[in-house]
Symmetry: C2
Subunit: 211 residues, 2 copies
DNA sequence: GTTGAAATTAGTACGAA
DNA sequence: TTCGTACTAATTTCAAC
């Protein structure tokens, strides 16, 4: 298992050229689309579906792997069938200057499927999968709460996973493009100018004044 | 691509027997562990790594697929390299009795990687990947806000993805089991008795009463 | 559930366009 | 770069144990 975890310093453009790596053309994206749906497809069949020669498919396949655009291949496992039927989100407030410890402790917790550092009210969001709600309770109160770096937590349960598309691509286009194109690619909008949070409680008329 | 998306009515036990499906033994879990790390491994190599015969590996492999424990195989794609370097979480408050519409509209949005219905303050959490923050802004204010089912939204950006383990298993055990075993498997704890929110702090008002 | 052999397919290495 | 072919190695399938 070779891990390519060093990202380029900058990633800017939205089409093709990303940082220092490979320049992805439409054929690369086609390959990614196929492999995303069927990660075990043979390169021969892949070549056929994409419409290129086998040799070319092998070359591009290797290039995508070497570049890191494809990080690996995995089986999609049904969590319920595997015995982990309960999913919860835990929003964590982390004590400043204890991030390293927080990360280290998290790494020790295999039931954590996902952890992201976020802006906003909390500092991190953790997603866990467990056998039952009691196990979640136990994890939060006994293991998470005992980490000094954890100042506070807030847990919610996931009742249903409506959409789960592990690896989306910029080439995914929506089924029914009713409007021509919103032309919303202004690229100089600073974060400070955005009014996302608190949009709900003030009902800032943002979502059209029907309140 | 055969899809087995009908779950059994009940999923109870934590080890082995899940609902009506296949009974998973330790060998099945070993297979899942290998395939999770290398989804393109040959069944022969899989058999070798698990320590069973080829024929047995083929049988179990097929059984896991047929049962739905393995839903499919996918390539792990680097979002940054693919041109979707910005990740955001959008917490949505949905108008009651408009869930169907909400789901239908979401299905039309390919940039949505994940959407879950949750308990707690909001009704749903959406994760999106986009090229830049402006695109997120545009999505939230123009497309999400225009859905009548959406009453309010709150957006946060993901600054770093600390952990990303797509498919965890109950057999994952933590690296260093310092303590003997917390013995935390009380199974009759009702949800009402759980005090998750603000659990770790006396001044837990931090995250709630800021309105 | 296991082993071994045949048939098929996958992966590699070339030269040519 | 990409394609097409030939060559080698591996995998899958199928048989008997």
């Amino acid at each position: 298992m070779t891990e390519t975890s060093s990202y380029p310093t900058r990633g800017s453009a939205a089409s093709g050229r990303i940082g220092i790596g490979l320049e992805l053309d439409s054929t690369h994206f086609k390959i990614l689309e196929v492999l995303r749906e069927n990660g075990r497809i043979s390169v021969s069949a892949l070549a056929e579906r994409v419409g290129i020669s086998r040799a070319n498919a092998y070359t591009r396949f290797e290039a995508l792997r070497a570049d890191g655009a494809i990080k690996g291949f995995t089986a999609e496992i049904d969590h319920v069938r595997a015995g982990l039927g309960i999913t919860a989100l835990i929003f964590v407030t982390v004590r400043q200057q204890m991030w390293r410890q927080f990360r280290a402790q998290l790494a020790q917790m295999p039931e954590v499927e996902y952890c992201a550092i976020t802006t906003g009210q909390h500092d991190a969001m953790i997603q866990v999968r467990m056998a039952d709600v009691a196990a979640v309770h136990s994890l939060v109160t006994e293991r998470l709460a005992s980490i000094p770096a954890v100042k506070a937590t807030e847990t919610v349960f996931i009742l249903d996973e409506v959409i789960k598309r592990p690896y989306i691509l910029p080439t995914d286009r929506r089924p029914a493009p009713r409007r021509p194109a919103p032309e919303a690619s202004g690229d100089g909008v600073p974060l400070g100018k955005m009014r996302f949070e608190g949009v709900s409680e003030s009902r800032a008329g943002l979502q059209r004044d029907k309140g």
